[in-house]
């Protein structure tokens, strides 16, 4: 399902692209007991989508994307718990703007470097954010986390209920908008130029493209999306802990994306779904070594399916077509 982007692509929606939304709606009705997990998955899909944009399309390497996710999560949390701003839309807007600004500021530095140096810088920035949240006890709650987050009804109409129905649909609607924006961007000339920068940045400069500016723009947008995803997680959980920041969630997200398939947009859907469901299941069945199952899955994918799980689907479909 890896389709070319750019000037040769067919930009119209394909039938399979409706599938995630049908599944998500069906899950809402069929699995009412799993809506909390569902909302978590939806936020991680948005988070993974933001990562795919910079890693998969623009070729920026990062192990610190949680800096934006986490700052978005804390912005929403602090707004509610400390400042009494409980409107969910306002929180998302503030989280997106805050994380986007952080992306702009840090991107201006890290995008001047490449490869390993870039990786190290992103890691350092994520670690810094984690330490700031850890030390700023009075604002963030430090290691205890930030509780007392309350979310006002959406538009004053839809209350966040105990069963997580509203939260799930709220996350789903936000993801839908985020996905739509990402999709527009990927198929646009801007998206095509990102792919060009990933493939060959020297040539992009030689055709007159402002490479640094483009990268900075997409990095900022990606940070904004990640920030919104983080705020959604805060709203769904009505709690923020330090586990949204630092290296671990950044690495975990990258694992999800690789699992699903990098640079193909829907890898960002498949990865978090498989990873978080496996985590949920394995943690219940084998609480002591559930990470082993995740590790095994990743090793198998990296060894045998470089395109991730979606890559396997691609290969299988191609095979079927050849037989038919």
């Amino acid at each position: 399902m890896k389709h070319p982007v750019g000037y040769s692509a067919k930009p119209g929606l394909r039938a399979t692209e409706y599938l995630p939304w049908v599944v998500a709606l069906a899950a809402f009705f069929v699995l009412p007991d799993y809506l909390a997990l569902g909302a978590r998955i939806l936020t991680y899909i948005l988070f993974a989508l933001s990562l795919d944009l910079i890693v998969g399309y623009a070729g920026i390497v990062t192990l610190g994307h949680a800096a934006f996710f986490g700052s978005g999560a804390y912005i929403a949390g602090v707004l509610s718990a400390k400042l009494g701003v409980n409107d969910p839309m306002l929180q998302l807007a503030a989280a997106g703007a805050g994380a986007g600004l952080l992306g702009l500021a840090t991107g201006a530095v890290i995008l001047r470097t490449r490869a390993l140096a870039q990786l190290m810088l992103t890691l350092a920035i994520a670690a810094l954010c984690l330490e700031v949240a850890n030390k700023a006890n009075s604002i963030t709650g430090g290691a205890d986390g930030l509780s007392g987050v309350t979310i006002a009804p959406i538009l004053g109409l839809f209350k966040f209920d105990l069963y997580g129905k509203t939260a799930y649909l709220w996350c789903l609607a936000s993801l839908l908008i985020g996905w739509w924006l990402v999709r527009r961007l990927v198929y646009s000339p801007f998206g095509a130029s990102l792919t060009g920068i990933r493939d060959n940045s020297v040539r992009m400069q030689a055709i007159g493209a402002p490479v640094y500016l483009r990268l900075l723009l997409v990095y900022t947008f990606s940070a904004l999306l990640a920030g919104v995803a983080g705020a959604l997680l805060t709203q769904a959980n009505q709690f923020v802990g330090l586990n949204v920041l630092g290296f671990e969630p950044s690495g975990e997200l990258l694992v999800m994306l690789i699992l699903g398939g990098v640079g193909r947009m829907y890898g960002a859907f498949v990865g978090p779904i498989v990873y978080l469901i496996a985590q949920d299941y394995l943690a219940k069945q084998f609480p002591e070594y559930w990470y082993f199952g995740i590790g095994l899955m990743l090793v198998l994918v990296v060894l045998f399916a470089r395109g991730g799980l979606l890559g396997i689907v691609d290969a299988a479909l191609a095979r079927l077509r050849r037989k038919a």
């Binding site: 095509a192 060959n200 040539r203």
Partner: protein, 249 residues
């Protein structure tokens, strides 16, 4: 009249190693000019100084009389300085059409758009197709560049550069690595370039140089040895000694 491209006392040193020594060079408007020299003469370094991939240690680069020494590579392209690369520098996993379309989109200023799908920019697609047709590879538009024979990849290189509508075009060994039969097609493509475009070609294939260029500059160890018409250069004993002598006894 201003030269299309000019350098004044251009120098480049890497530590103690001098790779460009006070190069004064003029490329006239509409010129068909070749730069030759033995391996390691600093030809590619000179091109990189002209295009802005390298910053000179001292000296100036002027494009149509305007000092562009301090502009980066992308800004020089915007001012009309295009180039091709010695080693294919293509977008390997993209279609041939996209390779050319990316450059066309940059030139006409739609490449930063993030809403309307790229594929619906008919003006970009049409122009890219026309460019591919002009170098004779329109049939390959939908193919991935990776799967293309090497000679045709060289033609894609040229089509990309032409899409920028440069006033000055630098061709860094356009026929490098191409079998002689196919280099004929490259020469054909070059012969059709608009006459008002000033062209500097760096090439090892002497046959191609002498057929294409009206003027030749010889570079040896980072310095200009001499400049003249093909006949003058061919007859110059110094050139024979340092360069041609190695090949044409």
């Amino acid at each position: 009249m201003n030269a299309a491209l000019e350098t004044r006392a251009l120098c480049k040193r890497f530590g103690a190693l001098t790779v460009a020594e006070k190069i004064n060079f003029r490329l006239e408007p509409g010129a068909r000019h070749a730069l030759i020299g033995p391996n390691g003469a600093g030809k590619t370094t000179f091109v990189n100084l002209l295009t802005g991939r390298l910053a000179p240690s001292s000296g100036q680069v002027l494009l149509a009389g305007v000092d562009i020494t301090r502009l980066d590579a992308a800004r020089r392209v915007k001012r009309g300085l295009g180039r091709t690369f010695q080693i294919n520098t293509l977008f390997r996993n993209m279609s041939v059409l996209d390779n050319v379309a990316l450059g066309v989109a940059e030139r006409i200023g739609v490449a930063g758009g993030f809403w309307r799908p790229a594929a619906r920019h008919a003006e970009v697609r049409d122009e890219a197709m026309a460019l591919l047709a002009s170098v004779g590879i329109a049939d390959e538009a939908a193919r991935e560049v990776n799967g293309l024979p090497y000679g045709k990849q060289r033609l894609v290189e040229i089509a990309i550069a032409l899409g920028l509508k440069p006033k000055v075009l630098l061709l860094d060994e356009p026929a490098a690595g191409v079998p002689s039969l196919e280099s004929e097609r490259i020469l054909e493509a070059l012969a059709q370039l608009p006459t008002e475009m000033a062209i500097l070609i760096i090439e090892h294939d002497m046959d191609l140089v002498f057929r294409f260029a009206a003027r030749i500059t010889v570079l040896v160890q980072g310095e200009v040895l001499c400049e003249g018409t093909p006949a003058e250069i061919g007859a110059d004993p110094r050139v024979r000694e340092v360069y041609l002598g190695e090949r044409h006894v």
